[in-house]
């Protein structure tokens, strides 16, 4: 239970885990050198065998994704560091605290996919991580690990950092590619624009998450069998969870698959803040349908178990809500996020999410009608048919259907609470405003805002640095 892989170095060496000397001193870059001697097939097979799933949200087999790369060349690699899902802050830590681990993973991925130019796309609101990554890249270039003839071989690899402009949608891989090309951040049509076939500059492109590639040095180091043997679960290796909300010890944790939600919230998370009752939690980022204690607390945290219960682990962001949380307000906050972040390209998402936000705000403000919950469900139905899981989208990308997730919770678990808002003409939870927008000082932290300031002392020992500001990079 206590195996740490990708956060081990930063845990053991909290002050200098981001430097190239520390990285090499702890065995770094050995696997990148070894990868140069391996063929594309060998690398793809190794990663397939490891069972590594993408950590960006879709949890698709990384090796399988690589195997889909079309033969056309040049091919590109884009690392998705546009971590913008509310509640998610794991990549930030990996970028900031162990950038060389990611760079080594990038080198391995590039070799496996015959890539000679890779990009790291980092959200614009992450200036310090971006600086750390750029510094690390500069160090790697200086030592000949990037650039012309890496590690003295005849393999060239350029690596470029690109900062996003503040749009959540650019975390969607095709919108990210558009943004990287200088176009509007709008998802492309699939078909025909599957990145592995027609991606960046219409060339075959692998888009991998920061955490995904950070696992690669470990997989090559210990071998696929050992990696997949780390847990008894079908989901292999470890994974990062960003725990936030009304728990005593929020923070990032590197965990083995197979523990339960009860373990996470009451053990690792240190239980509910102020001993309040657990009301609901979002298991995998704002896009994921919500869980409630009576149904889901003892489920295993695995991809399949979560999917069977109608949700997903997504980007590993767990947002915990206690009994004082107004579900209408929480839903409104999540929907407002998606409405604000909708690219506006397709009708259901552009019009539907805004409409949903308006209805929820009306209910919260005491102007709700008895029909409004059914209307919300109907509007949701127009974006995500039957509110099914996984969504049957009427949209180009999953952003619109993501906004439907809180509505599923309201429909299935909190119908009475919604109707009571209608009957009582407003909200009775702490912090309720007569009109929306005027949050009082007693407002509980909105679930979208994450407190990462408390140091965890759990077996996983992951710390989130308290440096929110612009400390020295």
């Amino acid at each position: 239970m206590s195996t740490l892989l990708i956060t081990k170095r930063m845990t053991d060496h909290p002050t200098d885990s981001h430097t190239i000397d520390r990285y090499e001193g702890t065995g770094g870059y050995a696997q990148a050198k070894r990868a140069l001697g391996l063929s594309r097939d060998e690398l793809v097979e190794e990663v397939k065998a490891s069972g590594l799933l993408g950590r960006g949200g879709a949890a698709f087999s990384a090796g399988l994704k690589w195997s889909f790369l079309a033969p056309d060349r040049p091919s590109y690699l884009v690392i998705n560091g546009d971590e913008s899902e509310p509640g998610t802050f794991k990549d930030r830590q990996l970028l900031e605290r162990d950038p060389h681990q990611m760079i080594e993973g990038i080198i391995i991925t590039a070799i496996a996919n015959e890539v000679h130019h890779a990009f790291v796309y980092i959200r614009g609101e992450y200036p310090k991580p971006a600086r750390r990554v750029q510094t690390a890249i500069d160090e790697a270039y200086a030592r000949g690990y990037l650039g012309r003839g890496i590690f003295g071989s005849d393999y060239d690899l350029e690596l470029t950092v690109h900062l996003g402009g503040g749009a959540y949608i650019c975390g969607e891989e095709t919108a990210l590619i558009n943004s990287l090309e200088g176009l509007r951040g709008e998802p492309r049509l699939k078909p025909p624009y599957f990145p592995a076939a027609k991606g960046l500059y219409m060339k075959p492109t692998i888009v991998n998450n920061v955490e995904t590639v950070s696992n690669l040095p470990h997989i090559l180091g210990m071998g696929a069998d050992s990696y997949s043997g780390l847990t008894d679960s079908a989901d292999t290796g470890t994974f990062m969870m960003s725990l936030s909300g009304h728990v005593n010890r929020p923070g990032n944790y590197e965990l083995p698959h197979g523990i339960t939600w009860r373990d996470l919230i009451y053990d690792i998370g240190g239980g509910m803040r102020n001993d309040k009752e657990l009301k609901a939690w979002i298991p995998g980022g704002a896009s994921a349908p919500w869980f409630i204690p009576s149904n889901h607390l003892d489920l295993e945290i695995t991809k399949d178990a979560t999917a069977a219960a109608g949700s997903m682990l997504g980007s590993g962001a767990v947002i915990v809500m206690d009994e004082d949380t107004c579900m209408v307000r929480a839903a409104e906050r999540v929907v407002r996020f998606f409405s604000h972040e909708s690219c506006g390209q397709c009708t259901p998402c552009r019009e539907g999410t805004t409409w949903m936000e308006m209805i929820l705000r009306r209910i919260e403000d005491g102007e709700g009608r008895a029909v409004d919950l059914d209307l919300l469900v109907d509007v949701s139905d127009g974006i995500s048919i039957d509110l099914a899981w996984p969504p049957k989208m009427t949209t180009i990308c999953p952003l619109g259907p993501s906004a439907v997730s809180p509505i599923i919770a309201l429909r299935d678990y909190f119908r009475d609470e919604v109707q009571e808002h209608v009957v009582r003409r407003g909200c009775w939870f702490p912090g309720a405003a007569v009109k929306s927008g005027g949050a009082s000082p007693q407002t509980p932290r909105s679930p979208g805002v994450v407190d990462v300031s408390i140091q965890g002392r759990s077996p996983a020992v992951v710390v989130s640095e308290g440096d929110r500001g612009e400390g020295p990079g």
Partner: protein
């Protein structure tokens, strides 16, 4: 037609099996098989974007059942497509409710009301009511985004048709989406209006009333309009249009999708260039000169006077002392009547439809290895050594642009300055005006290996015309001949100004051609020679038919002197102009849409034009005026109606055999390229000429036409005339210091043939050492065709 027929696959569409081309999008395959899938953003002539989501259908493939957009998913063998399932209907209702949520529903005052895809599809596929009780989006409205187009962002449903058109089709991406999510809106860039020559197309394809055009705004309700098909007579490609009129007033033109010519698109000149027809400056009664004044008389008096005078001259010195210039703006029937008037009544070979600014008539009329417009879709390489197509041949511009951009054809552009196609050209050569022959000599010599390779392809379409006034008309023939030597097969598309020049040539309005592109045994004089002969007194009388040589000939002095010296001038025209100011008699003519007939475009395609309004006052068709004159001159032509004349043409002119009004109306609505079948009666053997080289002067003149100028029809089209650039001389910024010039300076530009004052514009598109002056502009003097030019800065 095409060599590679696409593979057919079988799909099941709502339970019925169909064979459809592999790779075709579901929406198109369904439409071609009688099933309409509702849509807003999808447009057959543009790339799909899948944005409106209106065309969601259910498909069942071996991989399972899915709801997909029919516009972005291709058919596959064995695919089941359901466009009517409960799920599909639910999705359609949802999308329409979403689209209408923020739509202002101001249909009663919206120009689109009654012909609105949103209205129509809301009725057919919508939920019938809205549950949206919130406040709708608000924007300032309407905002003018160009001189012609206004935008109402509240009505907009963000389908990207207009933005795609301006980006993909016309190549001037001046409108784009800004902001995001619920506040996404179409807009222009700051300080950059949507000043596209093709902006009106966005109004036509807008599926709501978000884009409206000034000339039509609030002028009619669609259900009150009478609609008649015709062909535009500005562009020599004759793009197909529908004329919409109410109570005899033309209110707008819309583009009709003709696969052979315009794909439904129109330039703004072709779309909005109808205002002149209703101008109160139109001539409505015959005018004769009495004591130096033009006075109105009735037709009998005018016709008697003209007939008596022309008959007198004929009897005194023979018919050859009368010449005819013009006829390019009428129908083939008018041109045929004029041609017969020249040969049967006057007996003169001195007839010319061109105004000394054109390629040789035998070359224009040549039919061997002549290209049709759609050949650009099939060629390997397209060479454009011609006027800037964007300015003068807009339909062809769009077709060539599409061929290069969407079909990947290799485009080679040779021109004295920047052109609208440069951004899509694989190779662009710029040369000093007058240096065309020297440059041509380099072709095939290895000096331009990439271009030689491109031009040596199996199938090359060569689009040639006079790029400006400096390079003589022989250059185009030399280019055609040289590329015929280089390429596996070269098909030639010669260009000329003025809408029905090609039809008029086919009817024999050329000194060296008889009707049907047959060479005359005794050629007559061309326009320039006619003007010179008038000046010398060798020709006594001139009949001017819809022509303004004083404004339109490159060297206006020749025309002015000829007209001044002429003993007798008769003009048939719509307006007063600087040429018929010299006339003794002006006869008022019917204009476009005031008569029916046939016209022939630059590829030899004959199409029908139709009458939708009566001519104003007592104006009459050219042919009936000529018929009356002929009768009075004892040589009756026996012309009865346009339809009978067309029948006569089809019987007497071998080239036009079978081309009757009935044929064009019932069997060939998209027109037919003559001859319908059989061998070509005329062959040209162009010869490469050497000799002339570009002058060594500091500045050379490039004088060329722009889309908007001071031509008489535009002068009386109030929406378009202000768009003309005016008297401007373009120079390269690098030339500015040497003569002390700055942007906006006034300069005096002098050639051996003319001089005038112009506003200087510094412009990177004009190469150093070149002065580019748009031809025939209000306030701008004509500078002739002498390329040597002096520039003096005045302020």
């Amino acid at each position: 037609m095409t060599s590679r027929d696409p593979q057919l696959v079988t799909i099941s569409l709502n339970g019925t099996e169909h064979q459809v081309p592999e790779g075709q999008m579901i929406i198109k395959a369904a439409q071609d098989n009688g099933t309409y899938i509702p849509r807003f953003c999808w447009h057959e002539r543009m790339n799909p974007v899948g944005m409106c989501r209106m065309c969601l259908v259910e498909i069942e493939t071996p991989r399972g059942k899915a709801m997909v957009t029919a516009c972005t998913n291709a058919v596959a063998d064995g695919m089941f497509v359901d466009t009517e399932s409960t799920e599909v209907k639910k999705a359609q209702e949802a999308i329409l409710e979403f689209l209408l949520a923020n739509h202002p529903l101001d249909c009663p005052v919206c120009d689109k009301g009654g012909e609105c895809p949103l209205q129509d599809q809301a009725l057919a596929y919508g939920p019938g009511e809205s549950r949206f009780v919130e406040i709708k989006r608000n924007y300032e409205k309407p905002i003018p985004i160009s001189d012609l187009v206004l935008l109402d962002r509240e009505r907009c449903i963000l389908c990207a048709r207009c933005t795609r058109f301006s980006d993909e089709i016309s190549g001037d991406p001046l409108i784009e989406f800004k902001d995001r999510g619920n506040t996404t809106q179409v807009n222009t860039f700051p300080d950059l209006p949507f000043s596209s020559y093709f902006s009106g197309n966005t109004v036509q394809i807008c599926p709501v009333g978000a884009l409206t055009a000034k000339p039509y705004r609030f002028r009619a309700r669609p259900w009150d309009l009478q609609k008649v098909e015709s062909s535009s007579m500005f562009d020599t490609a004759h793009p197909r249009i529908e004329i919409h009129s109410s109570q005899n007033e033309i209110l707008r033109y819309t583009g009709v999708d003709n696969d052979h010519t315009n794909h439904g698109w129109l330039s703004d000149k072709d779309r909005f260039g109808f205002e002149y027809l209703r101008s109160d400056k139109r001539l409505t009664r015959p005018l004769v000169k009495r004591d130096g004044e033009m006075v109105e008389v009735d037709w009998h008096e005018a016709l008697d006077m003209v007939a008596n005078r022309l008959a007198l001259i004929r009897s005194e010195d023979g018919g050859e002392t009368t010449a005819i210039v013009g006829g390019a703006h009428g129908t083939n029937e008018d041109a045929y009547a004029l041609s017969r008037f020249a040969s049967d009544v006057l007996g003169t070979p001195h007839v010319d439809v061109r105004l000394d600014d054109s390629l040789a008539s035998h070359f224009l009329a040549a039919t061997v290895d002549r290209a049709v417009i759609s050949d650009v879709d099939r060629a390997d390489t397209i060479l454009v050594w011609a006027p800037d197509l964007k300015e003068e041949h807009p339909t062809l511009y769009l077709r060539v642009r599409r061929a290069a951009q969407e079909l990947g054809k290799t485009l080679v552009v040779v021109h004295p300055r920047a052109t609208g196609l440069d951004d899509r050209a694989a190779h662009k050569l710029t040369y000093r005006p007058g240096g065309g022959f020297a440059l041509l000599d380099e072709f095939g010599s290895g000096a331009h290996p990439d271009i030689d390779a491109a031009l040596s392809a199996d199938d090359v379409v060569v689009i040639v015309g006079a790029p400006g006034h400096a390079d003589g008309p022989k250059l185009a023939e030399a280019v055609a001949a040289r590329i015929r030597d280089l390429a596996g097969r070269a098909r030639i598309l010669p260009l000329n100004s003025r809408a029905n020049t090609f039809g008029a040539l086919d009817m024999g309005l050329a000194p060296d051609l008889e009707p049907g592109r047959v060479a005359r045994k005794r050629p007559g004089k061309d326009t320039r020679q006619i003007m010179e002969a008038l000046d010398k007194g060798e020709i006594r009388a001139l009949v001017l038919v819809g022509a303004d040589p004083v404004r339109d000939m490159p060297d206006p002095r020749v025309a002015a002197e000829g007209l001044l010296s002429a003993e007798y001038v008769v003009a048939i025209d719509l307006f007063h102009n600087e040429s018929n100011a010299h006339a003794d008699v002006i006869l008022p003519a019917a204009g476009f849409a005031e008569k029916e007939g046939t016209v022939t475009n630059l590829e030899g395609r004959v199409q029908k034009v139709n009458r939708v309004r009566p001519a104003p006052g007592f104006a009459r068709s050219d042919w009936s005026i000529l018929d009356d004159l002929a009768a009075r001159m004892d040589a009756p032509l026996g012309l009865v109606s346009e339809e009978k004349i067309a029948k006569e043409i089809s019987e007497n002119v071998a080239l036009y055999a079978g081309v009757t009004h009935d044929y064009l109306e019932w069997e060939a609505r998209d027109g037919v390229v003559v001859p319908i079948e059989g061998s070509q009666p005329f062959e040209y053997i162009p010869v490469a000429l050497k000799g002339s080289s570009e002058p060594g002067a500091q500045f050379v003149l490039h004088s060329a036409r722009t889309m908007y100028d001071d031509g008489v029809r535009l002068r009386f089209s109030p929406s378009l005339h202000p768009l003309a650039p005016g008297a401007v001389a373009h120079l390269n910024p690098a030339d500015a210091p040497s003569i002390g010039l700055s942007h906006g300076s006034t300069v005096r530009v002098t050639t051996s043939q003319g001089e005038g004052e112009f506003t200087a514009a510094l412009d990177e598109g004009t190469p150093p050492g070149v002065v580019y002056v748009p031809f025939n502009q209000s306030g701008g003097a004509s500078l002739g065709s002498d390329p040597v030019v002096r520039v003096k800065v005045l302020t």
